[in-house]
Every structure is written in C-alpha cells, then in structure tokens.
Amino acid sequence: MKYIIAICIASLSAFAASAQTISINSGTTWSIPSLSSTITKAGKNYEHIETSSASQTLLKVNALLAWSITAHLSATSNWDSSLKLSVQRTGNGTGIAILTGGTTYIQLTSTPQAFFSGLLNLTASRDNIPIQYKIEGLSVMLPVKTYTTTVTYTISGL
C-alpha cells in the first residue's frame, strides 16, 4: 500500500511538474545594433518607436489546466528607465488551450506583471505563441552606448 501511495505521489508530482513549463522556440534575443530611423535635421530629437517583428519571440507552454504568465525586466543595471520596453501577444500559436489577455502592449518594469493566461491545455502544449516588442522613449539625452536588459517570462499554475 505504501508503495502504491508513493508511486501515486511521485506520478502526480512528475505530472504537475511537467504540467507547467515555458520555453522559447525562437527569438531569445532582440537586438537593435542601429536604429531604424536617424535624425536628419539639426534641432530635432528622435520621434520614432523601435518595434520588433510581430513574432520576434515564439513561446511554448506546457500545462494542464489553468496557468498564467508574468513578464518583467530581470536585468536593468545596463538599462535606462526612460527606455520604455513593452511586449504584446500577437497571436495564439497552435494548440488547444484557450488564451486570454496580453494582446495589447504592457510596459515592463522590474516587477512581474500579468501578461496572459491559458486554460485547458490538458497536457498538450500551446506552441509558437508570437510575442512582439517595442521600445519608446528614444532620445539624444541618453548617453551614447548599448543598453541591454532581459525580459523574463514566468509561468505559474497547473
């Protein structure tokens, strides 16, 4: 009987463990080595927004029932708070889970914010969820250098 209980617990644990994972199929970086628009007239500041492709990052989610994903900036020591980095979900990807939220941009901070959630994966994965990024606040007031940060997606639930 003890063995059966232990096996059950182990199985459930393993199941729960595999029931909520997040990974990246493609797009682990978004790099802008040169701005998409330059200042061509003296006296002006930047007036544009840098935007990634609509499917810059493709997320893969494995879960069982109900889960949610938060997003935040996990490395900001070489970033400037005037650079406003936002993310949005531009599609559903493939799979049976019902996705909710995240279809408009949310501006990221170092505090995790709710991004989007899903229901009823039933152990199937929701694959290739497309994520788009944008950066606002470009200014000549920012010192010349390369700014870097890390966007962290965290899944929780079952």
């Binding site: 644990s13 040169s34 007239k41 390369t146």
Partner: protein
C-alpha cells in the same frame, strides 16, 4: 524503495522550477549625433555696413547689425563627453573692422540647456581662427521652430583700428562647427 520515490518526487519538483522561466535578451545601441544648422528668416546672407560720416571730421557711424539668423543643433554624446560649437570666418575681413557675434541665451522647448550645459561663452568676435561660442554641449536638441527655438545670432561690425579702415565691400562666410571637446 519509498525513499527512492521520495527523491524522485523532489527531483521532479526541482525540474519543474527550472522550466517555469524563459528569458529574452534585448539590446539597443544609441548612436552619437552631431548636427548643427542655421535657421534664417529668408536667406542665410547677412549684409552689414558702416555708415559714412556726412560732415568732415566726424567719425564713421555705427555699423548696422543683423539678428535674423538662429542657430539650432542636436547632440548625443557618450557619458562624460561634451562638445562645443565653434565659429570662424572663411575669407578676409575688411582691414580695421571686427565682426562681432552676440549669441543670445537659449530659448525654446528643447532639452539639455540647464545646469551649465550648452552655455554661451564670453567670446564676441569672429576671426579666421575657430573659437567656441557655445560650450559643454552634452545630450541636447534645440527644436526647429524659427524665432522660438535655438540661439539667436546677432552680427555687427566694430571698428578695431581706425587707421586701417578702407572703403570697399568684402564677402566672407561664417562657419559653425560642432566639435568634440
């Protein structure tokens, strides 16, 4: 056997934590910018003249002045870097005459002109040697609206050496350069 199962449970739990996070690295490079321009009311050309006296023995009259040009610029520098805007004359000024430049304090809706940044220097005269008229320029942009954004420039003529004054007309070019300090 049950301990093996327990260990398996713990390992599985740890494994689940390792897969609940995904990271994407983002980077953006902000480039150096150095742009300077003159906003004229119409043409960039400025005509100045000294007034001839109408009575023998009188001095040459005060020269005319012109304040229709505005200087605008955009600058982005590295942390700790700064620039200056220098002006010089290309060509030969009339002998005995000095070309004076008065740069008004910045006005407008731009940024980068407080806290000792982008200040107007005490230099007053344009010569063939570039001298700084605006200094300690860091990240800054003036705006581009004529008459309400930038530094108003006033040109005038002054007598430097009366004995060397000769009648005639001279054409010179005033050149502004934004340079790293």
């Amino acid at each position: 056997m049950k301990y093996v199962m327990l260990i398996y449970c713990v390992l599985s739990g740890l494994a689940s934590y390792a897969q609940t996070v995904a990271n994407v690295d983002v980077s953006i490079s902000m480039p150096s910018v150095a742009l300077v321009d003159i906003l004229p009311s119409g043409s960039n050309s400025v005509t100045l003249q000294m007034t001839a006296p109408t009575e023998a023995g009188n001095t040459v009259g005060t020269g005319s002045s012109n304040n229709t040009n505005w200087l605008i610029f955009t600058s982005a520098v590295t942390s700790g870097g700064s620039r200056s805007i220098k002006g010089d004359v290309v060509g030969t000024l009339p002998t005995g005459i000095r070309l004076r430049l008065d740069v008004s304090a910045y006005v407008g809706s731009g940024l980068g002109f407080t806290g000792g940044n982008s200040y107007v220097t005490a230099n007053k005269y344009l010569t063939n040697t570039p001298v700084s008229f605006i200094d300690n320029i860091k990240g800054a942009y003036t705006g581009i609206t004529y008459g309400s954004n930038g530094f108003q420039l006033t040109y005038s003529l002054e007598i430097q050496d009366y004995a060397n004054i000769r009648s005639g007309t001279s054409n010179v070019t005033v050149r502004y350069t934004m340079a790293d300090n």
